[in-house]
């Protein structure tokens, strides 16, 4: 077992990174003075991993929404429900499934070790029967319907359908009422036995808990996993978009829009590229910029306007979203502005301001235990080191941002989705 201490010279913080003998990757970020601990146990298995093989074996295709379904069902073990066990420690437990991972978490301000025991135990104890699987159809069916009524959720998925031909990122994380009806205990076990291998997982702990407490529980409860080779199959995804516009009607009083610029998703970006992108997006789209001012003065956007990088295995896009009474006009103005800045060049003053703002938010991200633990998980699965981001922002040069601008935000490969 190897324990490495990773330090941040900028803030003086540090965390431990452990490759546990069981195969699990463990991160422990101790926070002096904190009274609670946030722990998250995750696997690199999300909604996009719907076709895979193990050790070069047979290709397995599973129904849409199965990763999320498995998340719900894992809470039940043969000896009872995990929530009932957490009831004895008081920990606040939850779980989530995203496009590329499934995570189980808790926040505890007392009985940390007991809570960690529950987490490690139930995630390693699958129990799927016809009866328990059937019971979940109603609950998840209602969760799907709740999202069907959510304009914010729909505007995103409609956009992803415009951007992606084949990549499963365009499929709703929870699947549909029809696809979840195909889920069986056998299919859940196929997924579990593939992706819930400890080598494919990470445990991230941040807060009051100490390294030795985490390791003591880990040593006792982790069942060693033999490392396997997982191959995920994705159909080839063309660089071009599918369509540049999609509209859906829902009962809304102010229309919503989401604009996507499809980029190169063939490999994950580095911390340096991430830093350069965030500063660039701030320069172009933040409140202190010329574009924001123009859109606001023309009464086209409001405070809900925002932007983000949308990235994972096989996909990369820059997304801008908000509410507007004229989304088509917003889209035109944004494209014209990007082209104008390409012609005229980026401003050094804008760069200085936005570098400071992005640096500030990188420091702020080291305040809260949940944000840190989730970031550690994200970094583990994307092969980045958590502290590198703030360092890269600090050391960034104007030229780095200029060269990043040449790689992303291609207006001819973008789309608009509208809910009105």
């Amino acid at each position: 077992m190897e324990v490495k201490e990773i330090k941040s010279p900028l803030t003086g913080d540090s965390y431990y990174k452990i490759k546990h003998k069981s195969g699990l990757n463990i991160y422990v970020y101790e926070k002096e003075g904190y009274n609670s601990t946030y722990a998250i146990f995750g696997t690199k298995f999300g909604s996009i991993n719907n076709c895979f093989s193990v050790d070069g074996g047979e290709k397995i295709k599973v129904p849409d929404g199965i990763a999320h379904y498995l998340e719900h069902k894992l809470f039940e073990s043969e000896d009872g429900d995990a929530f009932a066990k957490y009831a004895l420690t008081g920990a606040n437990a939850n779980a989530y499934t995203s496009f590329d991972k499934t995570c189980y978490l808790f926040s505890a301000s007392q009985k940390f070790k007991e809570s960690l025991e529950i987490l490690i135990d139930f995630v390693q104890s699958p129990y799927f029967t016809d009866e328990t699987v059937a019971k979940e159809q109603g609950i998840i069916g209602q969760e799907i319907k709740m999202y069907d009524d959510s304009p914010e959720w729909r505007v995103l998925f409609n956009l992803l359908e415009c951007l992606y031909h084949n990549h499963p990122v365009k499929i709703d994380i929870a699947g549909t009422v029809e696809t979840i009806a195909e889920i069986t205990p056998k299919k859940l076990y196929d997924c579990y036995n593939t992706f819930y291998n400890l080598n494919n997982m990470a445990l991230c702990v941040c807060g009051k808990a100490k390294l030795n407490e985490v390791l003591e529980v880990a040593d006792r409860l982790l069942k060693p996993s033999k490392d396997v080779e997982i191959t995920n199959y994705f159909e080839d995804e063309p660089r071009e978009i599918v369509a540049n516009f999609k509209e859906q009607n829902l009962p809304v009083a102010v229309p919503l829009f989401e604009i996507g610029f499809k980029g190169d998703g063939t490999k994950l970006i580095t911390s340096k590229q991430e830093a350069a992108t965030d500063v660039l997006l701030g320069m172009l789209f933040s409140q202190s910029g010329e574009l924001y001012r123009e859109l606001q003065d023309k009464e086209l956007i409001n405070q809900s306007f925002g932007y983000e990088v949308f990235e994972g295995m096989g996909f990369y896009s820059v997304l801008l979203s908000g509410e507007s009474h004229n989304p088509e006009r917003v889209y035109e103005i944004i494209k014209n502005y990007i082209n104008k800045v390409r012609d005229e060049g980026l401003s050094v003053d804008d760069y200085q301001e936005n570098k400071r703002a992005v640096y500030g938010s990188a420091i702020r991200a080291m305040n809260s235990t949940d944000s840190i633990a989730n970031n550690l998980m994200e970094c583990h699965f994307t092969g980045r080191e958590f502290f590198n981001y703030a360092d890269e922002v600090y050391n960034l040069k104007f030229e780095d941002v200029q060269s990043r601008f040449n790689e992303i935000l291609d207006c001819s490969n973008s789309a608009l989705s509208v809910i009105r």
């Binding site: 900028l10 009274n35 009464e299 409001n302």
Partner: protein, 421 residues
């Protein structure tokens, strides 16, 4: 645990200092507590957005935003919320601590001064705000009102409160209505701003490692220029009027939303409030509560079915998202869980688990700067000022008999259903 220092710096103005080395940030917030009235609600709702757009020193929105970026992306926000029958305007700034700034930059004082300026030295045009800012802010507030219709869980909650609390200040939306917003004039906004400074109860919070002295001095000095006549914070607890209010609205949706409202005479400052908090958490605020275990897990009727207790108003709400044909079934199942409690069907395990869970969450939120601020702000409405440890002690002192006693006081008052077509 954190230590809080409360100092009076003027009539009903309290400066709270929470010295905390744990955070890499400093946060300064000013909350103005005002009575919630339909005649003033839209004016006060416009102020936070209006005040955080510009100031006398930075009269241009873009220049002002650039200043914030240079302060390492300091986050200046203004919001308005409802606490009981009161409207609370909060203006706050947060940013990184001086320790992390480039080349020994000192930014905490600049942040304090900036927040003070937006509150006391806004960009004015005589005895009015400026037309350009007013029209932007009116448009944005009306969009915000519309966006609450977009999210059906929020919309259903808003409609429910309007119906249940039709004749109380609590039934008024914290944002006002679009019509009200349209009618507000620049002069009225100026007057509202003056009222905010002179008639509100003010709670200022400073959370961080650096000294709060300079912030405290600026605020003391600024407030001293205003002749303060603060109003007395009041909340009404309204009894059931003898008639169950039922309302159904039909809309093109995939899922129906149902909200049930109950009244109780147990509200702040009653000694039974803590027992009611435990009772409602046990009923439906945790993932091992009666509603979660039975209505969601056993009957598979809902993805969410949660109970909340407003201790200022003596109102309990239970909200859920259900299939249209299951509305009746869910309603019966929820009422059944309340009856189970009335009949004493509560296990020691449920009581202990609920207490553990409540205390766990109270302690955990105080590991966040905004959590600490909200913790103490909510205590002010309780008319009592307790630390997390003290509140946890009170939680642990609640008995099963008290839970049964308080749950019996619930009276079913209102049911609102937003039904899918």
């Amino acid at each position: 645990m954190d230590s809080i220092k409360r100092e009076n710096i003027g009539k009903s103005i309290v400066f709270n200092t929470i010295s905390d080395k744990r955070f890499k940030t400093m946060k300064l917030s000013v909350s103005f507590i005002l009575p919630l009235k339909s005649s003033t609600v839209a004016k006060f709702a416009l102020l936070p957005g209006l005040l955080t757009r510009t100031s006398q020193d930075y009269p241009d929105f873009t220049q002002f935003s650039k200043k914030l970026s240079m302060l390492y992306g300091a986050n200046l926000t203004g919001n308005v919320r409802k606490m009981g029958d009161n409207q609370v305007i909060t203006l706050s700034i947060s940013g990184i601590d001086d320790r992390y700034a480039f080349e020994g930059d000192k930014i905490s004082e600049s942040m304090s001064k900036l927040l003070c300026d937006v509150i006391f030295r806004p960009k004015l045009n005589g005895n009015s705000f400026c037309d350009e800012e007013i029209s932007q802010e009116k448009r944005q507030l009306k969009d915000l009102i519309d966006s609450e219709f977009n999210e059906k869980r929020i919309y259903a909650n808003n409609r429910f409160t309007e119906i249940m609390c039709k004749n109380e200040p609590f039934g008024i939306s914290r944002l006002g209505t679009k019509d009200n917003v349209d009618k507000v004039t620049g002069e009225e906004l100026y007057d509202a701003w003056k009222i905010m400074l002179s008639e509100s109860n003010v709670e200022i919070f400073f959370i961080g490692e650096s000294s709060s002295d300079s912030a405290k001095n600026i605020f003391t000095y600024r407030f001293s220029a205003h002749n303060r006549t603060p109003y007395k914070i009041e909340n009404t607890v309204v009894p059931y009027n003898g008639e169950l209010k039922e309302e159904t609205e039909v809309m093109e949706l995939a899922q129906s939303k149902m909200i049930m409202g109950f009244r109780t005479d147990i509200a702040v400052p009653s000694v039974d409030v803590m027992a009611m908090r435990v009772a409602i958490a046990l009923l439906g605020s945790t993932s091992h509560s009666k509603l979660f275990n039975n209505v969601r897990e056993k009957l598979s009727l809902c993805y969410y079915c949660a109970a909340r207790y407003n201790r200022i108003k003596g109102i309990v709400t239970i909200e859920s998202g259900v299939e249209r044909e299951n509305i009746e079934k869910a309603r019966d199942a929820i009422l059944n869980e309340i009856n189970e409690m009335i009949n004493g069907n509560i296990t020691d395990f449920e009581v202990e688990a609920t207490k553990l869970s409540m205390c766990n969450d109270f302690i955990a939120v105080c590991d966040y700067d905004s959590g600490l601020e909200n913790w103490y702000l909510s205590q002010i409405m309780d008319g009592d000022f307790n630390s997390v440890e003290e509140v946890c002690q009170a939680v642990n002192a609640v008995t099963k008999q008290q839970i049964i006693k308080v749950i019996k006081t619930l009276v079913f008052d209102t049911i609102y259903v937003l039904e899918s077509k």
